[in-house]
Symmetry: C2
Subunit: 308 residues, 2 copies
Amino acid sequence: MTSKTIQKLPRGIFAASLTPLKSNLSIDTELMLEHCHSLLENGCDGLVIFGTTGEANSFSVRERIDLLDALLAGGLPPHKLLIGTGCCAFPDSVELTKHAVKNDAGGVLVLPPFYYKNISDEGIFHAFDRLIQEIKDERLKVYLYHFPKMAVISFSQALIRRMVETFPGIIIGMKDSTGDFENMKSNHNTFSGFDVYAGTEQLLSDILQIDAAGCVSASLNLTSRLAARVKNAFPGEESQALQNKLNAIRKEFEKHPMIPALKQMMARKTGHISWTNLRPPLVSLDEPESRALEEALDALQFSNYCSF
Amino acid sequence: MTSKTIQKLPRGIFAASLTPLKSNLSIDTELMLEHCHSLLENGCDGLVIFGTTGEANSFSVRERIDLLDALLAGGLPPHKLLIGTGCCAFPDSVELTKHAVKNDAGGVLVLPPFYYKNISDEGIFHAFDRLIQEIKDERLKVYLYHFPKMAVISFSQALIRRMVETFPGIIIGMKDSTGDFENMKSNHNTFSGFDVYAGTEQLLSDILQIDAAGCVSASLNLTSRLAARVKNAFPGEESQALQNKLNAIRKEFEKHPMIPALKQMMARKTGHISWTNLRPPLVSLDEPESRALEEALDALQFSNYCSF
């Protein structure tokens, strides 16, 4: 289909980009583009577009395709983008994946179909098998999106093995949002060439220690610059001190609904009101909650560490 | 918009229709239409199209719209149809709901947005509030789809109260798939004019006893005629004996993944191979499982009670 050399997705620090919305809850494409460029200039090695943090599953296929088109037209480098494409409906996953691959995205981040529960490994395998058969493009690079707390469906190690062995060079990595470092380490050590990204920057030093692929995280929308300092100073005391600060900031966000809390702080830090809007069923922090977050972050001198 | 009198959704027995698929996993529309007509001729007072049993969330918006168009063109009476329209993505729910309402569907069965977990009542309320505002059609009749085991998100009684009070004549009922009859009874008794449909025909006699709206169930794809006999003979010994038989049959299906088990038996009973196909992540029963189900049903003289 193409003679271009496809660059591999970078290793390192990925913000799972938030998606700014206008007051009518349509995507604020201009602000999104500005934000993505800013993240790449402020420590991010790559970006996830349409992950959980980006409210991916709250948008239609059309909206998702249109946004990616706009981001690429606006100059974002496709090989630095990991595009969320996993939906409940197989034709939706196919359409989004085809579109991302056609545009030379660095990879697609694929949730298992997540409506039905108590699904067998066999059923998840079939979903990926059919998706890959449908795409039929050598550029396809699939990263498994492992987030059992949200998707409820999860990838067992036996299933990962079967998929990696069946689709070498296609299923090549995972975003692991379990927070379970032992699981990440085990997958990193077990599957050769399998790129494991931790779903939180609290594990950045641990990931660097074992030379796994990197971190993809929601809070990196605000802390990517600090995370890059951790990475650049690694290993050593300075890096550890910065990691401690990164962890302390993350812990404050974790005390609140994560996406609303991050959008609230984005609005405060950038002055763009579009950051406060959320698609249902997510709701904004109330005023006391918002104030509590801000005060806690102030106590950590967040302004000195925030990317904005 | 229209001067037609809109008929209310019937009470009674509703099969949550299975969706037959061709070998390429596209919908077998002709067989679906035949099945739906057959269900209405065999004891069903109405049908749910695109519920959990119908693998609704495994189909794109386009597929769902096209199927409903075909079913209506094929003569199914719209007021007997309760159409599943609740998706994760707000624009998808809006598009499906508009389409169903425009076609005078008896009602729409709406899941809460189900990707995000730990969602507040406020967030679910907002999702329904915005949906209703977007539809702006006096024909809109919303039935809440309460299925916490599958959607994980659930409707608290406080939330139901708020929605019923805020949207009288619009949010008018619920399919309750919890199996918790006390919850159904409580909602039936608490909210005047609120139509409660139990998600299993095992509760049919109980529902008839309290004069709630009816039952919507997966297994009614095969047992609607028997369920109608329970209803027609109610109350009394004959009805109770038939209810016991209905329960015994249902219990055999519950020992297996429900949708694959039902599709397997549909294929055996009708000879249509399209019934054996499932969209990922669902998988067919294996041969021993299938045989075990068939033997257990034979022991219950299922052939004498099956609708086909």
